[in-house]
C-alpha cells in the first residue's frame, strides 16, 4: 500500500519570533498550531491526530495535547532529532490513508537562545545510552561531529571549504528577502572562509543559526483538502531511514538520505530531474552537500562542484534551495530544522514564496530532514510533494 495521493498538506506556519524571552515552550507550540490551522482554514476541533517530538516539554505529546485541549484518536511522538517533523508528515499520511486520522497536527518549538544554550560547542551527555561511556569522554559536540564528516569528505573527494561556502552564500542570497530571517546580509565565499574556525574545517558561517520559535503543519485527507480554499499540496512519496555506526564500520561520507531518497522517489514515481525546488536540511553546509549527493542530484563526491558558482540560487542556479534562507540564515528553531524545510517547500508549491525567490512553475518539490548526528547516529526523511 502506498501513501501517494492519500494526504495533502493543508496548513503551514513558521512562528515569526527568533528570540522568545516572553513566551513559554508550550505557548510557542500552541501559537504555531493556531497559525497552521488558520492557514488551512481548519479549527482546533477538526484535529484528531497529533505529532510532536523531543522538543515537546514534559510528557511530550501527552503534555501538549493537554495544554492545547486536543481530542485525539491518533498520536505519534516519533523522535529522530531535527528530521522528526518530516517523518511526522509521512506517518500522518499513513494514518490518514489507513483511516486512523482525518486532520493531523504537527508542532515544533524551542527556546535555545532565551535559555542560553551552548548548542554547538557543549558536549551532549545522553545519560544511560549504551554509547555514552565510549563517546562522551572525548568531547563530541554537534559541530565537531559534523566537522569530522566534512574532513573525511574533503580527504576522499577533494571537497574544499570554498565549495562548502557556496552553500551559505546561496542561502544568504535568499535570506536577504526574508524580513524574519536572523541573518539577512548577503555573504561571499571569502566572508565564509574568513569567518572564525569553530572546529576544522567548519567556520562560523558554515553553521546554521540558533533561534527560538517553532512552527506547525496540518496534513489532511483528500476530501477535506478539496473543500478548503487553499492551493493544494499533495504528498507523492516519503522515505525514512536510520544510519548509525553499524557496529564500528563507520563511513561518514554518506547519510541516510542514500536510502530515504530513493524510497521517496520510487513511491512518487519521479526522479531528481523532476524536482523544481529543494528544502535540504542545513544544520551545516556539509549536511547539504552530502545530502544532495545521496539524493541523486549529483554523483557521490561531486557535491562540491554541484553547489559551486551559485547553482543553488533561485533564478540563476539550476537547483533553487532553501529560499527562505534556511537554517543557515533564516531559522533553525529549537535546533531542529525539519519543520521549516517542509514549510518553505509548501510555500514554493503554492506560489507563496517571496517574489524574488519564487521558482517559476514550481510543480514538484522535495523536503529532506537529517536529525541527530552525522558523526554517530541520525534519522533521515525525504518527502516529495506536488502542487495539484
Amino acid at each position: 500500500m502506498t501513501i501517494k495521493g492519500k494526504a495533502y498538506i493543508a496548513g503551514v506556519f513558521e512562528h515569526p519570533t527568533r528570540k522568545a524571552d516572553d513566551k513559554s515552550l508550550a505557548q510557542l507550540h500552541a501559537e504555531s498550531a493556531r497559525g497552521a490551522l488558520a492557514d488551512a482554514g481548519l479549527s482546533r476541533e477538526d484535529v484528531d491526530g497529533y505529532f510532536c517530538a523531543g522538543d515537546a516539554p514534559g510528557l511530550g505529546g501527552l503534555s501538549m495535547a493537554d495544554y492545547m485541549g486536543l481530542k485525539l484518536r491518533h498520536i505519534d511522538t516519533t523522535e529522530t532529532g531535527g528530521s522528526s517533523y518530516c517523518i511526522h508528515v509521512s506517518h500522518a499520511a499513513q494514518a490518514i490513508a489507513a483511516g486512523k486520522c482525518n486532520v493531523a497536527l504537527i508542532t515544533l518549538a524551542g527556546r535555545p537562545r532565551a535559555e542560553g544554550m551552548a548548542t554547538g560547542t557543549a558536549p551532549r551527555n545522553y545519560g544511560t545510552a549504551p554509547d555514552v561511556a565510549f563517546e562522551f569522554p572525548y568531547g563530541p559536540t554537534v559541530v565537531n561531529q559534523y566537522a569530522m564528516a566534512a574532513m573525511r569528505h574533503m580527504h576522499q573527494y577533494g571537497t574544499t571549504s570554498a565549495q562548502l561556502a557556496w552553500i551559505k552564500v546561496a542561502a544568504s542570497h535568499h535570506a536577504q528577502h526574508n524580513p524574519h530571517a536572523l541573518l539577512r546580509e548577503v555573504v561571499t565565499v571569502d566572508d565564509v572562509v574568513n569567518s572564525p574556525m569553530i572546529s576544522d574545517p567548519l567556520h562560523r558561517l558554515d553553521c546554521c543559526v540558533i533561534t527560538d520559535g517553532g512552527g506547525a503543519i496540518v496534513v489532511t485527507k483528500p476530501e477535506i483538502a478539496k473543500s478548503l480554499r487553499r492551493p493544494r499540496v499533495k504528498l507523492l512519496g516519503a522515505g525514512e531511514a536510520v544510519k548509525h555506526q553499524m557496529g564500528g564500520q563507520v563511513d561518514l561520507t554518506y547519510t541516510g538520505a542514500t536510502w530515504s531518497g530513493p524510497a521517496a522517489f520510487a513511491e512518487a514515481g519521479l526522479t531528481p530531474a523532476d524536482v523544481r525546488y529543494v528544502s535540504i536540511y542545513d544544520s551545516f553546509t556539509v549536511t547539504v552537500l552530502i545530502t544532495l549527493e545521496d539524493l541523486g542530484f549529483c554523483a557521490k563526491g561531486q557535491g562540491g562542484k554541484f553547489v559551486s558558482d551559485g547553482n543553488l540560487i533561485s533564478g540563476t542556479g539550476k537547483l533553487p534551495f532553501n529560499t527562505d534562507g534556511g537554517g543557515l540564515c533564516n531559522n533553525h528553531p529549537a535546533n531542529r530544522g525539519g519543520l521549516t524545510k517542509v514549510v518553505e517547500a509548501v510555500r514554493q508549491l503554492r506560489g507563496e514564496a517571496h517574489p524574488k525567490v519564487q521558482v517559476k512553475d514550481c510543480g514538484v518539490a522535495l523536503a529532506h530532514g537529517t536529525g541527530g548526528s552525522l558523526g554517530t547516529r541520525h534519522g533521515s526523511a525525504t518527502l516529495i510533494m506536488e502542487r495539484e
Binding site: 560547542t121 544511560t128 566537522a147 564528516a149 574532513m151 572546529s199 564500528g248 561518514l252
Partner: protein, 132 residues
C-alpha cells in the same frame, strides 16, 4: 599548537561493560567479538550488532590503528582533537588524538594507544601519532 590537558569526564561503567573498564584500568583496550559470526564490533556490547547473537566475547586489541577522520575543536578554552580511529582489528572507534601538535594530525596517520586519566573514573583509550 600542542595538546593541552583537557579535563576528561569519567565514563560510567555499566554492568554490561565492566570488563572493558577493568581492562582499561590495566592499560588494555578490549573490543567486542562475536563467536557466532566472527565479526568484531565497537563499542562493545553483550549482543552482536552484526548478527544479533548473544555469544559475544572480549578480545584485546593491539592498540594500533589509522586516523579515519578528526576535527580540532578550536572554539573552547582548551582545543582538542575529536577523532575516529580505525583499529587494525577492523573496527572504527571514537577517540581523541593527544600528545602531539594538533595542527599536524592527518587522516591516514598511523597512531598507537595511550590511556588517559579521567576525573574520578577509569582511564579512557586515546591515541597518539606513532613515533611520538
Amino acid at each position: 599548537m600542542a595538546t593541552q590537558e583537557r579535563k576528561i569526564p569519567a565514563p560510567d561503567p555499566s554492568p554490561e561493560t565492566r570488563p572493558f573498564w577493568e581492562a582499561a584500568a590495566g592499560g588494555r583496550l578490549l573490543v567486542g567479538k562475536c563467536k557466532t559470526c566472527g565479526k568484531p564490533h565497537y563499542y562493545p556490547r553483550a549482543l552482536c550488532p552484526v548478527c544479533g547473537s548473544d555469544a559475544t566475547e572480549w578480545v584485546e586489541a593491539t592498540g594500533r590503528g589509522t586516523v579515519y577522520s578528526y576535527s580540532v575543536m578550536r572554539r573552547l578554552p582548551v582545543p582538542y582533537a575529536l577523532a575516529y580511529v580505525t583499529l587494525d582489528e577492523g573496527v572504527t572507534m571514537m577517540t581523541n588524538i593527544v600528545d602531539c601538535d594538533l595542527d599536524a594530525i592527518r587522516i591516514g596517520q598511523r597512531v598507537r594507544l595511550v590511556f588517559k586519566p579521567t576525573e574520578g573514573g577509569p582511564p579512557v583509550p586515546m591515541f597518539t601519532p606513532e613515533g611520538s
